[in-house]
């Protein structure tokens, strides 16, 4: 038996098919990333695993139980997107309240320390910044010392420093043998924090594998530039992945943009209008889907 077992789950909202026969399993102690662009079905899949939504077909079991039963809920912690909290309660009061809901609990002080909210413990929710609220949601997700933690796009409202601190907290929990499933649309985030990546696209599981395996399929960075180097030359450079033309520019997908650009300079080719950014997953997956179906 696995911690999460999802079989043939489909879900439709009116005309939109949010999930089309998703099956997956997550074992005890795994840290799994749901990777996919907006609209891929990540949030829907998580709501079905939580028993918030019922699938049109298929089944979900958490620890062998239906997810809406107390046997499952008592072992699950959740960080939802924008849940909304009573504005006039303080951080400490809400954490205490949530602790009372679970069969086991962590000490409030420890939870607040882990979520970096000790200084804000007496602040009311209405006085918290966006990032602090996000950390409070994390505190609520872990106060019941759950065996399984769902994090739905947890770092959306965080800056770089907050992200780093946040993932450190999550790794702390993973080290205790907890199972963690988080969704993200950043390949780097999945790469850095997950043991396994499940790529969702248009309601289907496109790929499931280690971060290294997924990175071979989808390059993390996109280099966009004008250059006088011929395409066949570019293709041969170290670090260069798939190439595309885009109105006078060349797009190079790469996991090692530094190596690629370094070699380009060494060979004396011209370079202008250069940008290096995170690969747009939507675009990457469209090409990946094409590759798989071809």
């Amino acid at each position: 038996m696995n911690v999460i077992e999802m079989q043939g789950v489909s879900k439709r909202y009116g005309k939109l098919e949010a999930l089309r026969g998703v099956s997956l399993e997550v074992g005890a102690g795994e840290v799994v990333a749901f990777l996919g662009p907006n609209g891929a079905g990540k949030t829907t899949a998580i709501s079905i695993m939580l028993g918030q939504k019922l699938p049109d077909s298929g089944t979900v079991r958490l620890f062998g139980h239906r997810p809406d039963l107390r046997e499952a809920r008592g072992r699950v912690g959740v960080m939802l997107q924008e849940p909304g909290l009573p504005q006039s309660l303080t951080v400490e009061e809400i954490v205490e309240l949530f602790a009372s809901y679970y069969p086991y609990r962590l000490p409030t002080g420890e939870v607040l320390q882990r979520a970096d909210l000790l200084e804000k413990r007496r602040a009311q929710v209405s006085q918290l910044s966006g990032g602090q609220k996000q950390r409070l949601y994390f505190a609520l997700a872990v106060v019941g010392d759950p065996d399984l933690i769902f994090l739905d796009e947890p770092t959306v409202a965080m800056d770089v420093e907050a992200r780093r601190a946040f993932w450190e907290q999550v790794r702390g929990f993973a080290a205790l043998g907890k199972t963690i499933l988080f969704s993200t649309h950043y390949l780097e985030e999945a790469d850095a924090n997950a043991d396994r990546v499940i790529v969702l696209h248009e309601g289907r599981v496109l790929q499931s594998g280690t971060p290294a395996q997924i990175k071979r399929l989808v390059a993390a960075k996109t280099v966009r530039l004008r250059t006088d180097a011929p395409l066949e030359q570019l293709e041969a450079l170290p670090g260069a992945g798939r190439l595309e033309r885009e109105n006078g520019h060349v797009l190079v997908y790469s996991n090692e943009p530094e190596a690629f650009l370094g070699e380009l300079v060494r060979r004396g080719y011209s370079m202008s209008d250069l940008t290096v950014k995170d690969t747009d997953l939507e675009a990457a997956f469209v090409s990946l889907t094409g590759k798989l179906e071809a």
């Binding site: 038996m1 918030q52 959740v78 006039s88 309660l89 962590l106 019941g144």
Partner: protein, 282 residues
Amino acid sequence: MTKTITNVTKRRLSPTARPSGSTSAMLLAQVRAEFLAAFRVPEFLIGIVAIPVMLYAMFGLTSSGTLPDGTQVRALMMASFAAYGLLSLAIFTFGVDVAQDRKGGWLRLMRVTPMPAWVYFAGKFAMSVLFGVLTVLILFAVAALAGGVRLPLEKWLATFGVLLLGGLSLSTLGFALGYLARPKAASTIANLVYLPLSFASGFFFPLSRLPEFLREMAPYLPTYHFGQLVWTTVGSREAAQAFTGVGPEGTLEHALWLLGTFVFFGVLALWGYRRDRDEARS
């Protein structure tokens, strides 16, 4: 990366984890959170507790005289405004509050925790009872101290009991509103329900001073029956008759009306609760 396969039925607790409290501790925490949230929004308190007291001071304390059996009009007016206060409490704590929780996503978050739904409702009930007791006691004190209302102790106690039971019978009306009204409209609908109901049931002015057609309509309103139960507890049946110009019918009939109201809106609230839950799941 290979992971050791272990039995998933076993809990993997953190070293610092300890068992949480019992269900009663959970209930207590829920009630505490409801109280704190309510007390930190003073407008809420004022709306629920102070308005009936203020209205009684303006309209009740200024009325004088006694009814044929010697009951003071001020005593019956005290009962009227207490009934009004409890009606507004039922509509606002159960109705508008629940609608707010639905809108804010707070209910959605609580639903994914292992907390049973009844704990949430019990929290609302407890808060409602506390504020109900507060409203009634303050009204009693104002009536006795500022209005010179004198009643034997057993009358005070009986009135207190009838008021609270009657107020609870209206709770399902509030829940039905909370689950059936669209969250944004809940507050408006609440005002549209409880103000006319209070007026037409004779809570603001004695029914005997209202137009004939309102007196004829009143016996079809559950809140009128609530009023009659309280008025006949404070004074005699003759006093209630003189005060209202209608009825009163038998105590059992009034009580059955309230019971019917409780059940009817209870069914409606349950239906609304299920609809809300199923909509969230679909």
